[in-house]
């Protein structure tokens, strides 16, 4: 099957800059796929979207949308694509309804068609009661919904969403996610950019992690996270037997094949995600939490760990399985420094 979006060796250098905003990026998106471009601020995500949507001229390389070279035939490409930008770019001289109808007019729809399409989309997006007010009165979430409705007015084959849920409340965010999945069901290909890990994991079929204009990794969110070896964690809270020592329990646990290392942490010991572990608390007979660093999936070793613990007379009071998140992958690949 031909890819719906194809980016090949894309380079963009803005005038008077000494680094490339996009530096040899290549990826493809299959028809009907939801593809997430994940990266820190300034990684080159928006520039890539800009090239794909005919608003940024590539320095070299090529970009195709629906098999159309966007640089060679931008007018044809614009018929195939739609963009929902980061901030509102709604036409404030027009009402919400007119925003939709004029958009359809630009794309060649007859008055009758554009009015009926607008009415249908306004209803679908829950905006029909507020369709003829001033756009300025719209909240951020409503403006976002209206922009998605507008992008649907000309039935694009590929939809580009630039940071679609930044600054939205949880309701609007959920609505957004539902809409995107519904669009995929209708066969629309979706390319979105985000630096929100949950969003990327939740929304995308595949994720490309970008930094400094380069692609660092590309795969499904699950495959990316499981590739992080030794980062899976099993936490058990126990009260050891009187005669036993915490060090003894740890030594016994590390002896299990697959557990790379173990340490005692405070009961509320920090999570894996970037929080440094608490100093070990090893003395005293009270409950202690042990963190076991596991190669591969932690759940598979739970049984072995529990039998070792019961064998030593330790009482198990809590178990927590910490799977690595996309955020860990992201930090692992792009580093911790602020930018």
């Amino acid at each position: 099957m031909k890819p719906e979006v194809e980016v090949r060796d894309l380079v963009k250098r803005y005038p008077k800059r000494d680094v490339n905003a996009v530096d040899g990026l290549s990826f493809t998106v299959a028809p009907g796929e939801i593809f997430g471009l994940l990266g820190p601020n300034g990684a080159g995500k928006s520039t890539t979207i800009g090239v794909l949507t005919t608003r940024v001229k590539a320095t070299s390389g090529s970009a195709r949308v629906a098999s159309i070279d966007v640089a060679g035939d931008p007018v044809a490409a614009r018929r195939m694509l739609a963009v929902v930008p980061q901030g509102s770019n709604l036409d404030r001289s027009l009402t919400p309804r007119q925003n939709l109808t004029f958009h359809a007019a630009y794309h060649g729809y007859d008055p009758e068609d554009r009015n009926s399409r607008a009415a249908k989309l306004l209803e679908e997006f829950g905006l029909d009661s507020q369709a003829d007010v001033k756009v300025d009165w719209y909240s951020g979430g409503m403006a976002q919904r209206l922009m998605i409705a507008r992008s649907m007015m000309h039935s694009p084959r590929v939809l580009f969403l630039d940071e679609p849920t930044s600054g939205l409340d949880p309701q609007s965010r959920l609505f957004m996610w539902e809409r995107v999945h519904q669009l995929r069901a209708e066969g629309v290909t979706v390319v979105l950019t985000t630096h929100d890990m949950d969003e990327a994991a939740e929304m995308s079929d595949r994720v490309g992690i970008v930094d400094h204009g380069r692609l660092l990794a590309i795969d499904t969110p699950t495959a990316l996270t499981s590739a992080l070896q030794g980062q899976s964690v099993l936490e058990v809270t126990i009260s050891r037997a009187e005669a036993d020592t915490t060090d003894g329990v740890i030594a016994a646990l590390v002896a299990i094949a697959g557990i790379e290392r173990a340490e005692a942490v405070a009961n509320d010991g920090g999570s894996l995600n970037g929080v440094p572990p608490m100093p070990p608390v090893t003395d005293g007979p009270g409950p202690v939490t042990l963190r076991l660093y596991v190669e591969g999936r932690a759940a598979g070793l739970l049984g072995a760990a529990v039998s070792v613990l019961t064998g030593r007379g330790a009482e198990l009071s809590n178990v927590h399985i910490g799977e690595p998140s996309l955020e860990d992958v992201f930090i692992d690949l792009t580093g911790r420094s602020l930018r």
Partner: protein, 264 residues
Amino acid sequence: MTTTELPHPSAWRAFRAILWRDLFVTGKEFWVFLVQAALQPIFMLFIFARVLGAGGYVTEEYAHLLLPGIVALTAFLTALQAVAFPLIMEFSFTKEIEDRLLAPLPTVMVAFEKLVLAITRAMVAAVLMFPIGSLVLGSAPWNPSGIWLLVGALFLGTWMSGAIGLTLGTLVPPNRISIMFAVILTPLMFTGAVQYPWMSLESLRWFQVVTAFNPLTYLSEAVRAAVVPEVPHIAPWICLLGLVVGGTIFTIIGVRGFMKRAIS
């Protein structure tokens, strides 16, 4: 969504749709447009012709040569403002133009649409200035034989002014709008042979040379030649040629500026 409705996209259809959008918005705020276009010229006519005339400082003859100048100025400012201000706002703050830049037509046609809009708005404003002027002045000069020169001069002049607006609207950064007024618009308004015929500057040679560099001069002189041909004026063909040259130069610069802002 079912897609039984088939669009008929073409660049020409998209062009008409974005022009219709701008005309629609103009019509929606027609009073704003009217006030913006007519208030300043009305005050200028009233003060320079009526008030100074009542005090005996100027004659009725001056009022009649001022009116064509004011018509030219109105056409010039209306066309320039129809393009420059919206573009500065739409490219930087509101980003409103993006939906039109993503319409299926060559980007350069979005710039041309702005020029067509400027010509349309400014022609309407200029034509309105004749009845308004005669109301303010009590009478207005009228020369039927100059009508084609008037129409041609206004058409070329508003095109050139729109192109100047396109140039300013895409080259002036948004935080410099106020400077644009002080440094560019005010000098243009007063060195454009609006309030005086160019030929009358013989005794002020250096200023005559300065005004010759202002493209507005050729519009003012052409309108004056059409309306009050008895007042000495620059030959109409030179005026029209000046407007064509100015229009061409500023269209090239303005369209380039527009393309740079539209596609980075």
